[in-house]
């Protein structure tokens, strides 16, 4: 069999390999270097469009903190992101890929807006409580739909929750142009601004959503770590077979957890309409539900790290907004900058679980020849 055609075979130059678990020190190093690489790559981009990167970054940091008002604005940006990231965390912990936070925020907003528009005369405390419960119900039910279908018919939750986002969005459009249209807006399709009674109270000059968010950080942490239901979520996420083996009612747990996941996103929606926008509009979720997925993922579903990462995101967003107007550059530039920074950090995240192996060049490659 010596007459076989022998081909010169090359070694693969780069291979991707799974990494062993990294020690926390190495991880810390990895994320720090991710942060700095992101800054540098973003800086090169800024240079390319003719902006001094040092000044720009300075402005971003300054912009997010320069005054009490700026800090308040940053916090306002953080609230919906924080709350919906926490909501997503519950579902993700169970490995139920809920990418419908956007729709759940919207439904929470819609449900609570009903009371703000039509029952604004109720006592303030009662109205706020009812609006909060309505938000919980709206978001929760919207998330239960895909959960129920998944347990009953095995539908794909990713597609299902994604599609529900659009339905929710068009529902707002319908309400805005139809039954809830503000009659005083001379034909302009919008929903009326809430009366003062239907607005979320301010605590230290920022709507109470921030306090709700912080309480939820503690609540979600404790729920996942110390309660029986939290334990069930972890087990179902680990392996549905193990959960069944342990005698758990898997379907019940999935539906219940998704209700909670959606409910928390619904709270974010309630805070947005009653605390930030004072009305219901198509922009109520504004992509927060998708950003929240990244936040939850980067934070490895740890509520406290979610808080930190949310803060980072909000600072970046607020700072970029200030940078844009200060330097008079296009909004596209600041969006691209945010994209670059995020992309680099996510790329490094990949390297926390994988590594590239580059083959060393051997001396005397003739050895490979036959």
């Amino acid at each position: 069999m010596s007459n076989r055609v022998e081909k010169k075979i090359k070694e693969p130059f780069i291979r991707i390999e799974k990494r062993a678990d990294l020690s926390s020190k190495v991880k810390w190093l990895l994320y720090t270097s991710a942060f700095f690489t992101a800054i540098v790559v973003g800086g090169i981009f800024l240079l390319a469009v003719g902006v001094n990167p040092l000044k720009a970054y300075g402005k971003i940091v300054e912009g997010a903190f320069r005054s009490k008002m700026a800090v308040e604005a940053t916090i306002k940006l953080a609230v919906p992101l924080l709350i919906s990231s926490l909501g997503i965390t519950l579902a993700f912990k169970m490995k139920f890929w809920n990418i419908g936070a956007e729709g759940q925020i919207i439904m929470g907003g819609i449900f609570s807006t009903y009371f703000a528009l039509f029952h604004a005369d109720w006592p303030h405390f009662v109205l706020m409580t009812v609006m909060l419960l309505a938000g919980i119900l709206g978001g929760g039910l919207w998330a239960v739909i895909p959960a129920w279908f998944k347990t009953k018919y095995g539908t794909n939750e990713t597609l299902f929750t994604l599609m529900l986002n659009y339905i929710a969005l068009y529902l707002i459009k319908y309400l805005t142009e139809g039954p809830w249209k503000d009659p005083e807006a001379s034909g302009f399709p919008k929903i009326a601004s809430f009366e003062a009674n239907a607005r979320l109270d301010k605590i230290f000059n920022v709507h109470a959503g921030w306090l709700i968010g912080l309480l939820l950080v503690l609540a979600v942490y404790a729920y996942l770590k110390y309660t029986k239901q939290g334990f069930e979520i972890s087990i179902v996420g680990e392996s549905q077979n193990t959960a069944r083996y342990a005698g758990m009612n898997v379907k019940g747990i999935v539906v219940r957890t998704l209700f909670l996941s959606g409910a928390i996103c619904g709270i974010a929606g309630m805070c947005q309409v009653s605390g930030a926008a004072f009305t219901l509009s198509e922009g109520v979720a504004g992509g927060v539900g998708f950003t929240a997925i990244i936040v939850a993922w980067l934070a490895r579903l740890n509520p406290f790290i979610i808080l930190v990462i949310t803060a980072g995101f909000s600072i970046l967003e607020k700072g970029c907004s200030v940078m844009q107007s200060t330097f008079g550059i296009s909004t596209a530039v600041s969006s691209i900058l945010q994209g670059i920074i995020l992309f680099v950090i996510l790329a490094f995240d990949f390297f926390s679980s994988y590594k590239l192996v580059i083959k060393k060049q051997k001396k005397g490659g003739a050895k490979n020849d036959y």
């Binding site: 720090t32 040092l54 402005k59 034909g187 926008a277 198509e282 109520v284 907004s321 844009q324 008079g328």
Partner: protein, 378 residues
């Protein structure tokens, strides 16, 4: 451990750099304020745009041209103008955040250029009594620090209607409207356009297609295509992009633009556009606020003020258009001709303005919900 230390060092240096640049900008700002001989250099003006002026045409660009004109007229530096671009007026929270950022920057006067900002601006005016808020294209005011400004663009539209009426051969003129009859601004403008058409071509009809969106290039193009399919050979528009003009040019027919002179966008199709010279208002108001003598009344400027006009006629116009338009324009400027003067009949046969009467401004801004008699809704 060595590596960690090295990294920490880099980190430290970087933070130092950051803080230095941050301080640096502050210092240079201070220098600016001391070197300038007038307190006016502290005065900042905020502008909230729904689009991005960098687009080079359309609604936000036109407004921004007005801001630039004001800036040059009053000698303000670039740092004194804070622009927030792409602020969706369907997102109340984002609107509020953008305006608050202007306040945070120290703006004493804020212009909001889109209808949807009105309620948010009204509320913020009450929250920040020291800041002046001027909102475009709406109707509310509070008499102290919040007003609305708008203009008699219908006068310009009447003139573009003349150009369209003279040009059409099929006697079908199309019109892409952003909103339906419930919106008085759009409907009044359309009626004025239709009257202009009728004044020179009584046989022509104006066909309308509504997009239900102020800014949507795709929908606007689709609406324009539909009108062209009907046989329209001149397209008027009340929407923000050049899409209808480009669609007309593709079919080898003509159109009348809006907001800015669209001859440069569709040189073979464009006749003339109804245009705004917002700079007139922006200069006047900014100067008044700086000098502390702003009266905060709603402003409704017209062709006589120079706020609205038509762009120079292109070579595509029919012969005699210039003369016909000049004659009417002179009468509008000197007040001897009113567009909404009776007798006016809508397309249902109702008399909406009796002979010899003139519609008042409140009706023009908020009460025209009828279509003129030669308008056909598609």
């Amino acid at each position: 451990m060595k590596k960690v230390k090295r990294l920490l060092a880099v980190l430290f240096v970087f933070t130092m750099l950051l803080s230095m640049t941050a301080c640096g900008t502050k210092e240079s700002e201070k220098e600016d304020s001391t070197s300038s001989n007038s307190a006016d250099s502290d005065f900042k003006v905020g502008v909230i745009h729904i689009g991005d002026p960098a687009d080079g045409a359309g609604y936000s660009y036109t407004h921004d041209q007005g801001i630039v004109a004001m800036q040059q007229e009053l000698g303000l530096s670039d740092e004194q103008i804070i622009r927030k671009n792409n602020v969706a007026d369907s997102d109340a929270a984002a609107t509020r955040a953008a305006i608050e950022e202007c306040i945070e920057e120290g703006c004493k006067l804020i212009f909001g250029t889109s209808w949807g900002y009105m309620d948010t601006m009204e509320e913020l005016a009450n929250e920040y009594p020291d800041v002046m808020f001027s909102h475009g294209t709406g109707y509310k005011s509070n008499g102290t620090n919040f007003n609305n400004y708008f203009g008699r663009i219908y006068q310009a539209r009447y003139l573009t209607g003349i150009a369209a009426g003279l040009k059409t051969k099929t006697n079908k003129v199309g019109y892409v409207a952003a909103m339906g009859s419930e919106n008085s601004e759009v409907t009044g403008g359309l009626d004025a356009f239709a009257m202009g058409v009728e004044s020179v071509n009584p046989d022509a009809k104006v066909y309308v297609k509504v997009t239900n969106s102020w800014y949507d290039p795709t929908l606007e193009q689709q609406a324009a295509e539909a009108l062209l399919d009907l046989g329209c050979d001149v397209l008027g528009q009340h929407c923000d992009t050049t899409a209808p003009q480009l669609a007309a040019q593709n079919r080898g027919v003509w159109g009348c633009g809006y907001n800015s002179d669209m001859t440069k966008d569709a040189p073979e199709a464009h006749l003339t556009a109804a245009v705004w010279n917002w700079g007139v208002y922006y200069t006047m108001t900014t100067k008044a606020v700086m000098e502390g003598n702003w009266n905060c009344e709603n402003y409704f400027g017209g062709m006589a003020d120079g706020l609205v006009d038509i762009s120079p006629l292109s070579d595509n116009c029919a012969e005699g258009t210039q003369e016909a338009i000049d004659e009417v324009k002179a009468k509008i400027v000197d007040g001897s001709f009113q567009v909404f003067e009776g007798e006016l009949q809508d397309n249902q046969g109702n008399i909406v303005c009796k002979d010899g009467e003139v519609l008042d401004d409140a009706t023009i801004t908020g009460g025209i919900n009828w279509y003129y008699r030669n308008v056909v809704v598609q």
